[in-house]
């Protein structure tokens, strides 16, 4: 009985007892959710357009962040460094399309998935080779990102908001809106959607798959750079960041691999869910459950909807 009380009733009593703490936890969950959603977004972009489950998205985030910081250390002004990093990501996208994707057209999904694994290792190797393995400080100030925090008195307590978190949420929203407009109203966006629907049909109406793939990897590279800046500003830029890519996977299966709104909603659910679980239920089992609770939440959803919350319905034919 005592155990049941601790699992089912006590956490809610705590929430009711200290609503300011609850708001703080929700806010932190929301912020990490936004960042998970950003990484998941990179996955979804590539998966939609090429059916490739791009495991390298996490390391692309690190790579973009490191390139930016590394260029700045060499004395390049911050904004020029951003532009140059974008150039590097473009070159990476073209190279990936040319070297990895093109020879592997029409291979089973798992082969392409493994190829992105290989890509992950290559990028880790290159990144460590050029920039070294030590964590680096993100050049947040030079890019004009706000610092510090402010407290808001509410619900009988004080809730702290980091300014960088607010900036992250705003920038993420702007980027998602921009992507939505890009997909909906531009010529390339239409072509991307066509490719996502059917490779063969898109080819037959004269859309160049190679070009589209390079574009979509570049788009994922831009998303990676922004994620790298935001996440790097919160902690620092290091190869440990690539593990957050694994956090984006439950977000993906929750939202569905093919849905951009799914990535966002899934990110928020996972972010908030894991922070709540860690804070209120974690102490019962000794803490540290943040690492797997996301997967359990996602599995729970999957049992009900195998294609994720917003994924396309899976139709199988014999």
């Amino acid at each position: 009985m005592d155990l049941l009380f601790k699992i089912f009733i006590d956490p809610f009593l705590q929430m009711g007892g200290a609503p300011d703490l609850l708001v703080q936890t929700l806010w932190e969950g929301l912020v990490s959710g936004v960042l998970y959603a950003l990484i998941a977004l990179g996955f979804v972009l590539i998966f939609k357009a090429s059916g490739v489950f791009n495991f390298a998205q996490g390391i692309m985030v690190v790579f973009a962040g490191l390139t930016l910081v590394g260029l700045h250390e060499k004395g390049v002004p911050a904004w020029l460094a951003v532009l140059l990093t974008l150039g590097v990501m473009l070159a990476l996208a073209v190279a990936v399309e040319r070297v990895v994707l093109r020879p592997l057209v029409n291979q089973p999904d798992i082969i392409l998935f493994m190829a992105t694994f290989g890509l992950t290792y290559v990028l880790i190797g290159i990144g460590e080779f050029i920039f070294g393995g030590e964590p680096k400080q993100m050049i947040a100030e030079e890019l004009g990102l706000p610092r510090g925090a402010f407290d808001v008195a509410m619900l009988g307590g004080r809730v702290t908001f980091q300014k960088i978190d607010i900036a992250a949420a705003v920038i993420a929203s702007i980027m998602i809106a921009a992507l939505a407009v890009f997909f909906q109203y531009t010529r390339i966006g239409r072509a991307l959607r066509a490719v996502a629907d059917s490779h063969k049909a898109a080819l037959s109406v004269g859309i160049s798959l190679n070009q589209i793939w390079a574009i979509v990897w570049f788009a994922a590279g831009i998303v990676a750079l922004i994620t790298g800046i935001m996440w790097g500003a919160r902690s620092d830029v290091s190869f440990a960041l690539q593990t957050i890519a694994l956090k984006a996977l439950p977000v993906l299966i929750l939202g569905g691999f093919t849905s951009i709104p799914g990535a966002i909603v899934g990110g928020l659910i996972i972010g908030i869910g894991e922070k709540l679980a860690e804070f209120y239920w974690g102490p019962l089992v000794g803490g540290g459950i943040e690492n797997w609770i996301a997967y359990v939440i996602a599995l729970g959803f999957l049992m009900v909807r195998p294609q994720g919350l917003f994924g396309d319905k899976i139709i199988e034919r014999i």
Binding site: F53, V99, V100, P103, L104, Q107, P108, D109, I110, I111, F113, M114, A115, F117, G118, L119, T120, Y121, V122, L123, I124, G125, I126, E128, F129, G133, L246, L249, P250, L252, I253, F257, V285, G286, G288, I289, N291, W292, Y295, V296, A298, L299, L302, M303, P306, Q307, G308, I314, E316, I318
Partner: protein, 359 residues
Amino acid sequence: MFYREAGQYKKTYSADMAVFPILQDRIGIGLILATAAIIIPIFGSNFFISTVMIPFLVFSLGAMGLNIVTGYTGLISLGTGAFMGVGAFACYKLTTYFPDVNIIIWILASGVFSAAIGALFGLPSLRIKGFYLAVATLAAQFFLEWCFVRVPWLFNYNASGAIEVPQRTLFGVAITGANATPTVRYMVLLGIVVLMTWVASNVLHGRIGRTFMAVRDMDIAAELMGIRLLPAKLTAFAMSSFYCGVAGACMMFLWYGGGEASDAFNINQSFNILFMVIIGGLGSLIGCFFGAALLNIVPIILKFGLPAIGLPLAGATAEHINHLFVGSLIIFFLIVEPHGLARLWQITKQKLRTWPFPY
């Protein structure tokens, strides 16, 4: 020229259905076994046996486990490392409670525990497919990894939180613990691997293996043909986890000789073994050995071989080059031969049979 089956007549169905129908293959496998069991223990240095052969055999076993579920049944699993960990911990607990029973029995029995856990985490496979399932198995990986650190009962409330391998003997010879020589550990491991490969080969060539392959090729069609999917998929997960569990127990007891589980059985280990399976060849037993050999030997060459020929590499640089090299190797092999080294081996054999004619 020498690899011809001309003149070898099959007089019975069983001879025709044999795993090695050609005489030269049988001689070849005999030679390999003789090399492994006699020449390497006698002439191999301790360094060679403990850094090359023992890891190679352990990884082959792990890759075999993953290949059963991913290559033969078509269910991607990213929880291999954790299932190996379950085997290691099960073996540790068993030998702590029953120290008098021979350790080899416990190494094999620990597979049963990881099979049970594997079947449990295989349950979602009935509803979830493809990458969704891969991510679902990550839940197993992270949950079990967490358990290995947070449940002190598993490591007998050690202060270090590591598995401490006790000394166990067979016929008076130490086979685990600090006093066991690499040669003895290698021989024990070799015995286990040969036995388990033989069992796997028989199971996979039989009814169960055919069921797995039918499920892999198209599970709905398999269901229509009367294969019950739930038992088939769970058997695959259980068998795979059994092999992984034994591999994990071997890794801890015969290779590492104890250590911290969170390092040995983390997500990178799962990926590492997945690489071996993919590069070796999905759905091929011999591919497991090829993959394990390649991915095991490349880092060793980079680490010890390059300095020997006068290319001194600092530890960190070697690590980076290793990453770079393994990554490029994976991409290269996927592009050249997506079906893995096992397919290359088949092609070579086919070429040899008809040589010097093209076909």
